[in-house]
Structure formats: C-alpha cells, structure tokens
Amino acid sequence: MGDVRNDWQPRDVGDVSLSKTMVLNLGPSHPATHGTVRLVVEVDGERVERCDVDVGYLHRGFEKECEHSTYNQVIPYADRLNYVSPLINNVGWVLAVEHLFGIEVPPRTQYIRVMLSELSRITDHLTCLGAASMELGAFTVMLYLMQAREELYDLIEAVTGARITVSYMRVGGLREDLPEGFKEELLRRFEIIKKHLADADRLLTKNRIFQDRLSGVGVIAPDEAIAYGLTGPVLRASGVNYDVRKVFPYSGYENFEFDIPLGAKGDNLDRFIVRFNEIFQSMRIAEHAMRKLPGGPICVDDPRVIMPAKDEVYDSIEGMISQFKIVFAGIKPPPGSIYFPVEGGNGELGFYVVSDGTGQPYRVHVRPPCFLAMGIFGPLVEGYMIADIVPCFGLMNMIGGECDR
C-alpha cells in the first residue's frame, strides 16, 4: 500500500497487445458495485495489480440543494444520503441544527431518537452483511438477513409511516409520538431477528469456506486506518476503539450501556464479525431505551422552531403568524457554524452547517464515512485476487447516496 493517490486514470500500459496485464472495468453497473461506483482494475491473470476507484456516479447535489431549502425541508433529502439507515441521517441533521439554535430536546425524544438510530444501524448492518454474503455465493443467508431486516422495516413503518424515506425527525422534536404497544412489538420482533441471526451465524461465520474467503484478506493496519480517515466498523475492525457514541456522546448516549466490538487483525473477517456483533449491541441499546422510555412531551417548547398548536393557529393572530413564518420563511438559527458528528451505520457521519441567520442554510457539507473508505479501497485490494475485490467492497458498505451526495 503506497501513498494516497488522487488520479483514477489507468496507467499507460503502452502497446496493449504486448502488455502482461489486462484492464478490467468493474462498474459503474456491475453486479458487485451496488451503489454505482466504477473500479478500473488492472489484472495479471486473476491477481489485481492496481485498482482505481471512480466515485461520483450518484452525485445529486445534496449540499447545494440544501442552500435553497429551509432547515426542515432538508430532512427528506437527508433520508436519501445513506438510504439503508435513513433515521441516523435524520438524527444527525436535526441535532446539528438544534445545536446551532442551542436547544435541547426533551428526554423522551432523546430516547426515541436513540432507539430509532439503533434500529437503523441494525438495518444498515443487515444490508451490508447480507449483500456481502450474497456476493460470496451465500444467497440463502442474504435472504435470511433480509427477512430480519423486514421485521425492522415493519417497526419503522409503524412509527414513521415509511420504510426508507422516513422524514421523521424535526428540528426540536419528532413528527409524532410512538404508536400504541410499540414496545411489546419491538421486543417480539427482536426475538425473530435473533433467530435469523443464529441461522446466519451457523451457515456463515462457522463455515470453513467462508472463513477462508475472508480471513487475511484486505488487511488494514490501525495506523493506516487512522491515516486514511476511516471510521465506524471498518476502523473498529482494525482494533481502534473510536465510536462517536462513546467519544462524543449525543442525544443521551451517555446514559446507555453498550460495548464496542473490536477486531484484532483488520481483515474482512474482522469487519464481518464486528458488524455482526454490533447488531446485538444495537438491540441491547434499543431494548434499554424502550424499557426506560421517559414520559413527557416530544417537542421542545420553543416557538422559534416548533409550530404552535392548531387551535392557537385558528384562534389567535399571533399563532397564525408564527405558523406562517415557520412554513414560509423557515426556522432561523442564529448566525454561526457547527460541525456535528453522529455515528452512522458506516462510521462518523458529520454535518457541517453554516447559518447566516436566514431561513436557509448558507452552506452545508456532509462528511460521509463511505467517501473516505473509498480512499483506501484502491490500495487495499492491490495484490489480492479479483474474487477478493467483491467482499472487500461489500464489507466497506459503500452507499452511493452518502458517498457521492
């Protein structure tokens, strides 16, 4: 693994008919490059000599679009960043804006946000592990994990009304409270998920073929991982204990007890196992949040960010003006800037927001964990085989929407 490179053009190999290597174009639409990415691979037989990663095929101008939207209008866009864990993006965005305002949401909202973040993290990890195992030929395990994910999507749908495009968080609170009997439903479905995970464990993690495919492949040393700015399960698989939830607790994460699974070698198997174990830790947090869920309001009592009650809007001129201003001009945080990180499914998901005091952000920047993970990907797979690109890529869990924004 050499220096960080920023050129993606394949090396000039001169007369192609005489060269020993072959340039192979994996993607942008290749079965393994879900999320639309192009890998230009120079192969010598089956061995990868050089790999260049070309990202940006899913660029939709998220950051620019935010500058023309009110702060609450950004929430649906944020869903589409990491579309396998949309609730975490929601939480990250609203927390960044709330910190600009300097407001803190009621404890009940904090607990619900934590619980939903963890559900989203589980869906993220299940998708990643499922896709990775499917690409290794274990199609059955993928479908078992998708069934487990379906249970969670049902739960999320019960709360937010949507499976993926949730748009549930609001600056200063939530759109609405949890439905009746949610706790029992959650606990019941966790049992089903645990059964599916036990199946997956028996079929994959204890399978010799699977272990041989993953162990010792794509090794990232701890110092390398830090140098490349990796975060999340990929970093923790290399043995670096960094989790935003523990290091910079937000939304009351300091009140929850959970462990950070760490890897030892930093290879693909460690990445798989770290994610697998994180699912159980997330379930632990979510269960804890539901058991200890405090009562009270779900929104802050702050007319700057929360719309007045409906009877106030209809019966008083102040209420109506307040509603009108929030809908049309948007909520207006004081001028200033903030960088706020949350622990996304793939690592540190940071929102950098600059406010000029108007209803629309002056500038938004997202720190996507996948984008930085793609930085190490090229050097990572060099020297391994074509077949190793697939699990390496799968376990990085590159999500196009988040990486390309």
């Binding site: 079965p31 690409e135 290794l136 030929g137 479908l143 399978n207 073929i209 699977f210 495919r213």
Partner: protein, 354 residues
C-alpha cells in the same frame, strides 16, 4: 428381420434415454427453483398460470421459460464468429447427454427369449466413455469464453478450464480404486456386482464394497460437483465477480442451452454416483433382476436414487458460499488428489491381501 427389430429396440431406447435425461434435467431445474424458494422462505416460480393454476411452478419452468427464451433476440457480439458462438452452447450440452448412453437404468428385460439390456450402448469400457464425454463439455465452456469478445467471459473461460481439468484428475483417480475392486469397466456388470449384502447387514453397494470406498465416494462426489460448475464451485459464472462468466454474452435459447447442459450434467453426475456407489437399479435385500416386474421396479428405483442425488446437489448449492480461485485449485491439488492417491493405494492393498 432380427436386425430390423434390433435397430427398432435401439432407437426406442435412444428416445427413452434422451427423454429421460432431458426430463430429469427439467425436473432438476424445477427442483432448483422451487427447492431454493423452500430453503429461503420464498414462493418461487409462480408467474405463469392457466386459469390461476401454476401447477407448483411446473408451467413456469417447463413451458414459459423455454418459450420466452426461444422468442428472445439471439445476440452475437460484434467481431465474434457467428458459427463458433453458436457452437459453444451445443458443445456444452451434447456430450453430456451422449454420456448418458452407457448408464444402465434397469435390470435386463427378457422378451421372447431375448435379453434386452436397459442401457443404450453396452460398451465394455463404459466408464471411460462417460469420462471422455464429460471432459468434452469443457470445450463448450472455453469456447464460449473465448468467442464472446468480453473480458469477463474470458476470465470465466479461463477459470472453467483450470477448474475442470484439475477436478477431472481427482475424479478419475478417486474411482480408480473402486474400479479395481469391481475389476470391470462395464457399468452394467458393475451394477450386477452390487447385489446381495456385505456381512449380512449392509447392502453390497459400491460404497460398502471395500472398507475405503466411502472415501472414494466423498472425493468423487465433490469432484463431480466441481465438474458441474455450481456453488460452491461456481467460479466460472460467479455473478458478483465476473458478471455471468463465460455466458455473459449469450442470450435467449443459447443461454438456456448452457443452463440445460449444467442441469443435464447434474443428472449425469447423480447417475454416475448411483451406478458406482449406490447399487444402480439394485434394491437392497431384494433381488429385483429375477422377478417379472424387475425391469420396471429397477428403473424406478434407479430414477429415485438419481433424483435424490440431484436434490442433494441443489441443497448443497443453496447452502454453501463460493470458493476463491486459488482455494479451489488448492483443494483439488493439495488435498483431494493426495487423498485419492492414498485411497487408491489402500484399496489396492486391500484387494491384494483379502
């Protein structure tokens, strides 16, 4: 006159065998689609239906899929030879079906004082014939990879040739000991030898014929599964790595022919395992060959045994992840080949001293 009758019998058997292989292959496709759905808690093929009846997906796999494939565009990549492009799927199917000619599927039939063997070609080196034709199937794969003008196809073809050549050696050596024990290459004779019991308890099937044949069976079964190029040995067509491998550039009926070849190979592999290790048409503890209904019962039992091994291969295919290229070759050359040689040695020693 006698020659004419003989010709008619051979033709009848040819039609029967061809029909049986193709139908069994289609049956395996159906098992694959519905069985994998069963394993994965899905519903499986159910779109094609007449008046709401989909006949458990049979309509889909037996009628709708072939008709759809026949009406698809026959795409030939620019720059490749149309003839060679069409030859490749043919080469993948034809030798596999031919290989079935030497498989005895029932005890001899006695009609009007004449003995008719339920076997299309009664060759005294039947097993060698089978091996030869199964080896030919690799040419279809390699040709497809070569002629497609596609890098993914080329990689698939390369993988297929390396894999099939490596496993063929293991396959051949793993049954060398078994054949030495039978002292015959004639498949009909081999099945006849497997009647009766060993020590009065176990049926005298190939797997119990010598104390080491179970090892030969495991090696042979794994090698033969690698020959069929299905998971965990589906590297030549690993869809997540090299798109669809050697048949990336094939569409319509040509693509389906590759598929049919693959499934016919499963049937032939199961038939080989049945004949060599599981008594062919022999029923344990019962002498079927002597009874009047023998041929019918024998053929039925043989079909059931073959179906069992087909289903077993489908179950394996949907349970295990894929090997990597180097691991696959390592398994063949470093583990299975030495074991096969050891098995040959042990079996030979057993034969000599017992």
């Amino acid at each position: 006159m006698n020659e004419l009758i003989g010709l008619a019998v051979v033709l009848l058997k040819a039609v029967l065998v061809l029909g049986a292989v193709l139908n069994l292959a289609l049956f395996v496709i159906w098992v694959e689609r519905k069985g994998s759905a069963l394993i994965q808690n899905r519903i499986g093929a159910n779109r094609a239906a007449i008046f709401g009846f989909d006949f458990a997906g049979l309509l889909n796999t037996l009628v709708a899929d072939p008709v759809k494939a026949l009406t698809k565009e026959d795409f030939v990549p620019p720059g490749s030879s149309r003839f060679l492009h069409a030859l490749a799927p043919f080469l993948a199917v034809f030798p596999v079906i031919i290989a079935f000619a030497v498989v005895p599927f029932g005890p001899p039939l006695r009609v009007a004082g004449q003995e008719i063997r339920l076997q299309l070609a009664d060759l005294n080196a039947g097993i060698l014939f089978m091996f030869a034709f199964l080896s030919l199937a690799v040419y279809g794969t390699v040709l497809a990879g070569w002629v497609s003008q596609n890098k993914f196809s080329l990689l698939g073809g390369l993988r297929a040739s390396a894999q099939m050549i490596s496993y063929e050696i293991t396959m051949g050596i793993s049954i060398a000991g078994v054949l030495a024990a039978y002292q015959s290459l004639d498949l009909h004779h081999i099945v006849e030898l497997q009647s009766g019991t060993v020590a009065g308890v176990l049926p005298r099937w190939g797997i119990f014929y010598t104390p080491f044949n179970w090892l030969a069976f495991i090696l042979f079964f794994v090698a033969v599964m690698a020959e069929t190029k299905r998971a965990p040995f589906d590297l030549p067509e690993a869809e997540s790595e090299i798109v669809a491998g050697y048949f990336t550039e094939y569409s319509g009926i040509k693509f389906l022919l590759f598929w049919l070849g693959e499934f016919a190979e499963i049937v032939v592999a199961s038939a080989m395992v049945t004949v060599l290790f599981f008594g062919g048409w022999q029923v344990p503890y019962v002498e079927v060959a002597s009874s009047a209904l023998g041929p019918l019962i024998g053929a039925l039992v043989f079909g059931l045994k073959v179906a069992f091994f087909c289903v077993l291969q489908v179950v394996v295919r949907w349970s295990l992840p894929r090997f990597r290229y180097d691991q696959l070759l390592g398994l063949s050359w470093k583990l299975m080949l030495p074991l096969a040689l050891l098995n040959l040695l042990a079996t030979s020693a057993y034969i000599v001293w017992s």
